[in-house]
């Protein structure tokens, strides 16, 4: 049983570019949450997707957008990248009805130059 997988593992972009990160949830999970973890900090909630819709959103600008597909996988898109967007982006999946149990993927480390 595969856990949460994320791709790519590492990514280097320049300011102003756009990036798409991908997440496949754990088998049987239908809810995907995205977090940003800056170096030396705890993760910060970006948004959560369920039934292909954004259900909740944290304090992030509209440059951060996402999508969930019918197979429950999800994408995180960030437009007009800033240096401050450099971070580890974590995806967590859970099952509706048991959302307190989240499983995290290994993350995508994004470096913006």
């Amino acid at each position: 049983d595969a856990g949460v997988t994320q791709s790519p593992t590492h990514l280097i972009k320049t300011r102003g570019q756009q990036v798409t990160l991908r997440c496949s949830p754990k088998s049987g999970h239908d809810t995907v949450s995205w977090y940003q973890q800056a170096l030396g900090q705890g993760p910060q909630f970006i948004f959560q997707y369920y039934e292909e819709e954004e259900r909740q959103r944290g304090n992030f600008p509209d440059r951060f957008s996402g999508h969930q597909f019918p197979n429950y996988s999800s994408e995180l898109n960030v437009n007009a990248l800033l240096l401050g967007d450099s971070a580890l982006y974590l995806c967590a999946s859970s099952r509706s009805g048991n959302q307190e149990t989240q499983y995290f993927g290994p993350g995508t480390r994004l470096l913006v130059l």
């Binding site: 949450s33 705890g42 910060q44 909740q56 307190e100 989240q102 290994p106």
Partner: protein, 110 residues
Amino acid sequence: TQLLEQSPQFLSIQEGENLTVYCNSSSVFSSLQWYRQEPGEGPVLLVTVVTGGEVKKLKRLTFQFGDARKDSSLHITAAQPGDTGLYLCAGDRGTYKYIFGTGTRLKVLA
């Protein structure tokens, strides 16, 4: 504004010692979780506490949720090198939009 403050930020101890990590807030949480994160990996859930005053034990780890559901502690007995990692608390206010603490980086020396 950081809603969940953890202390200490860093902790380096010898194998066999005991330690306590604290997670404090001025806000009330419906539940609070503790995670451990190792380099290159995502956080792994250790425990969820939901009732004020609740105490949960996981082998050598003891977790407590404050009576007012604003704070929590993690106590490790006889620490081992395998306990090394970043310990994170995360609170939920009933929406499953988890707020993570600042983290405590623990290093246990053999």
